[in-house]
Symmetry: C2
DNA sequence: ACCATTCTGTAGCAGTCGCTATGGAAAGGA
DNA sequence: TCCTTTCCATAGCGACTGCTACAGAATGGT
């Protein structure tokens, strides 16, 4: 069914732009350290408009996370999909993360990894933890399939390799926030890939 | 010079025990998510006693961090010192961290790694960042010395290996807080060590 | 024109934050 | 005993937290 025609006074601000501004703040400071006053100022609106458009703070954060994953997380699926092997895909994922985590002009690191740390709201923590766990499960599934197909050697432990990948990503995110630069993170990423078992060279 | 005899009414609580209680709270919730009310309740004292004995919240945290490093961080130096090679030392450091990060009955992960994330106080963030950076520098120095002595092969990149070690520790800390168990972290730690260049077997 | 609907700005709610002024209680020294 | 010193408990400071009641402004429908 089509969207009914809007009634009443139209919204006077750009909802998507406001959400973007909120996302940047959450990304930079984390969920709890970002106050409603911070948000309304960055979004250019007053508190009642924020609550009318986005619900409470947690709903706004959920929407920001969803938008973040769509806009700034797409490179993950792309890296895994566009490379010919899982190993090459994860190598590229780590390499691209070094770039994504240190892009100038926006917060460093990954919102999903950092924004919920030390957060008082169990729901927010759990929301982000579930996303992270989903990534680990995705990695594991892909690696296990590669082992099953003979692409990766049989002694491979898909679960451990998936967790190692996630751990390296988490470490890279925190280090990028600590000021470590792109070049050093790329070296780190390349080094981490040496943990994979040697490929049978035919 | 000897400590002058105490004058006036003696303190009615155990300062060290109170500091321990504060450390546990900071460790579990992080700096900012731990309120003075939380602290006074856990320490069993009132706010004025806390301020008289420890100064402000940041001073208390600094003292908690120092105590944490002394009590719960000693295993790091021990692992590096007691193993015959740097490689074995870092392997044991990672392995022992899997245990330390998941010990039942106390907070998971590492206070130095997590308690300052998303913290509004730049001083607290910087305090912990400097400790982390010091660890990386220590790792790098040890690895570089091992390369110089021929213990590790010349193609080794000490800086990158040091950063990788730190990244894996950070990832292990966050994952332990996400509920990942000791056994899985030990596998992760062992896998990470495969990133080291192969040893010249003579 | 008038109404229903929806948005916006002002102003402020109750609660918590880190922190402290104040007065009484508990100790040692004279 | 009296004084000094130090600690403790009550109570509360101003600022901030997430959030909202209310009234006015702006739109479309009739």
């Amino acid at each position: 069914m089509p969207t009914p025609p809007p009634r009443g006074r139209p919204r006077s601000f750009d909802r998507a732009a406001a959400l973007d501004a909120a996302t940047m703040l959450f990304w930079e400071r984390g969920y709890e350290a970002t106050s409603i006053a911070d948000l309304t100022e960055a979004m250019g609106i007053r508190a009642p408009s924020l609550y009318a458009a986005f619900g409470d703070k947690r709903s706004l954060f959920e929407e920001a996370v969803a938008g973040f994953r769509h806009t700034h997380g797409a490179y993950v699926a792309r890296a895994l999909a566009e490379e010919p092997t899982v190993r090459a895909g994860i190598a590229r994922l780590l390499r691209d993360s070094a770039t994504e985590f240190t892009t100038p002009g926006r917060p460093h690191g990954c919102l999903v990894i950092s924004a919920g740390v030390n957060c008082g709201s169990p729901q927010v923590r759990e929301q982000l933890r579930a996303i992270r766990e989903g990534s680990v499960a995705d990695f594991e599934r892909l690696i296990a399939a590669a082992v099953a197909s003979g692409e990766e050697p049989p002694e491979t432990d898909p679960g451990t390799l998936a967790r190692l990948t996630a751990a390296v990503l988490q470490g890279m995110s925190q280090q990028s926030r600590d000021g470590v630069g792109r070049a050093e993170l790329e070296l780190l990423a390349a080094a981490a890939m040496r943990a994979w078992p040697p490929l049978r060279s035919e």
